[in-house]
Amino acid sequence: MARLRGLAFKLLQLLAVLIIAGTASFGVLRLLPGDPAVALLGENATPEAVQALHQQLLLDRPLPVQYYHWVVNVLQGDLGDSARNGQPVLDAILNRLPVSIELMILAQVIALLIAIPLGVYGAYRAGGPVDRTTSVVAFGFISIPDFVLGIVLIFVVALKWGLAPATGWVPLSESLLGNLQSVILPAVTLAIGQVALYQRILRSDVIATLQEDFIGLARTKGLGTMYLLFRHALRPSSVSLVTLAGVNIGRLIGGAVVVEVLFALPGVGQLMVQSLSSRDYLMVQGVVLCIAVAYVVVNAAVDLLYRVIDPRVRTAR
């Protein structure tokens, strides 16, 4: 019963987060100076056209009325239409989402594939040559800003070696190879910094786990090192890693703005920046809501995952 109440409380809190973030996106955009209708139609628009657009976008109504309309529509699953091209906001987001998600998945896979073996082995032979080398390299990786790494990769891999296009996006439906070529540099750009973070946090947790009694027991049973490390030590050591990866996944579903802008990828992040600069209020509100939903869902999922990874958490709370 207490657990159920805790869960309900957590859900309420996440709902509050959604409401606050959504309302903030509505309120904050209205603070922007300038008339969005003028921004959309251009400086030379006739007053009649501006007024017509005002009526269409409800901009001539008081703010509470605008807010009420938006909320009622959102609750019915209608995020409104883009003021720029009339496209439904939800469609635009769903069009862009696969790009951001593919980028996110590839970046996470690359990061985890490198970080997990290095982290576990580094902990097993802590202070050894592999561990010390990875620690130094990890510091370097953490310290490269995304946009700097992206620029350097474009310069070296795309411009000097010609191995991948510098910018642009080829959909998966068009060409598998072309798609991979267009997504690999941005994915590596995102992955590099995360490799270092994941490796460091996993290493410190595995070191702690290896001190525990059940590891000694497993060792006396004569289990092989690989089996011991990856079957026995990895799982109880992965709570911090899962948290961190969860936070990153939630963040990246909403688009990696800098990387998407740098590599001209048509993802959610790019959509957000474009809509903000063209004052497409409903579009920005929709994107913010989508990002907040991703954040909330991933946080809830991580919370549940704790119980799966480490059954001790279930009783400890």
Binding site: Q13, L14, A16, V17, L18, I20, A21, A24, S25, V28, L29, L31, L32, P33, V136, F139, G140, I142, S143, I144, P145, D146, F147, V148, I151, V152, I154, F155, L159, R200, I201, S204, D205, S240, G254, V257, V258, V261, M272, V273, L276, S277, V284, V287, V288, I291, A292, Y295, V296, N299
Partner: protein, 290 residues
């Protein structure tokens, strides 16, 4: 921490400076670089450098020369001078934003961790909402409403890091609020405000401060990213991120215009991380505390 014992100097044929011998070359180098960057930023106006905004049309996109040690950019401006003046922007923004985020976050975290209950729920939910709200929308709106200026960049970045400090401060406050000395203070009739200020704050401040170097490294990157996106300090004032963005068009032909500020930015963040990591280790905080 372990007591550092004097190690016999290795026979290298030259004298290893005492500091590097005791703390390691990497750490000594990192500290030295940071001292250089801070000194350059502080003394930028006194150093014998060309004006960072002066355009020398005889040297446009030139490589290193006697007149311009690190060459010039596409407008003929001296790159070394712009890097040095850019250091000032990066450091001022990072330091002030840290101060802002840390102060607000620490106060809110202390209140949430000490009073618990509704206050805590409200503060934690607010912090979560800030994390769920895309930082870039906030920053673009802030610069759109209040204009692009140093103050607004500082305020924007400071506010973005408030939730981080709220979480850190709250987690540590929860631990110390349970301790006997707090109970003793309360039994002695001390009011909540006094207990927070005199008993809990000094204990919580140490682990929270221990993250400041690492956060400053993050903030320098964040300022660079903002300037790169054209949302930072307005031009012509030099900033590392803006220099990198400006040089990007001609990168294929004149890579030094981009790579020099990029290297300085990378090196500064790297050294900040190295020093920050040692700093945190000294204060003996477990990494998983966040």
């Amino acid at each position: 921490m372990a007591v550092q014992t004097e190690v016999a100097a290795p026979r290298l044929g030259f004298r290893v400076p005492g500091f590097a011998r005791r703390h390691g070359f990497v750490y000594a180098f990192a500290l030295a670089w940071l001292v250089i960057v801070v000194a350059a930023a502080a003394l930028a106006d006194l150093l014998p450098l060309p004006d960072p905004t002066a355009q020398d049309y005889a040297y446009v996109r030139s490589g290193p020369s006697g007149a311009h040690w690190l060459g010039t950019d596409s407008l003929g401006r001296d790159i070394l001078s712009r890097i040095v003046h850019g250091a000032r922007v990066s450091l001022i923004v990072a330091a002030l934003a840290l101060l802002l985020g840390l102060t607000i976050g620490l106060v809110l975290g202390l209140i949430a961790g000490y009073f618990r209950g509704f206050v805590e729920t409200a503060i934690v939910t607010l912090a979560d909402s800030m994390l769920a709200f895309p930082a870039l929308v906030f920053l673009m709106v802030l610069t759109g409403v209040a204009g692009q200026s140093l103050t607004n960049v500082v305020v924007g970045l400071g506010v973005i890091y408030v939730p981080t400090f709220v979480r850190l401060a709250r987690a540590n406050t929860l631990v110390f609020a349970q301790r006997e000395f707090v109970l003793a203070a309360r039994a002695g009739g001390a009011r909540s405000g006094r207990i927070i200020r005199r008993d809990i704050l000094p204990n919580v401040a140490v682990p929270v401060f221990s993250y400041s170097f690492v956060i400053v490294a993050h903030l320098i990157v964040a300022e660079g990213t903002l300037s790169f996106l054209g949302l930072g300090i307005p031009p012509p004032r030099p900033s590392w991120g803006a220099m990198i963005a400006e040089g990007r068009q001609d990168m294929a032909d004149y890579p030094h215009v981009v790579l020099l500020p990029a290297a300085v930015l990378f090196l500064t963040v790297l050294c900040m991380n190295i020093v920050g990591d040692r700093f945190r280790e000294r204060l003996d905080i477990r990494e998983s505390a966040v």
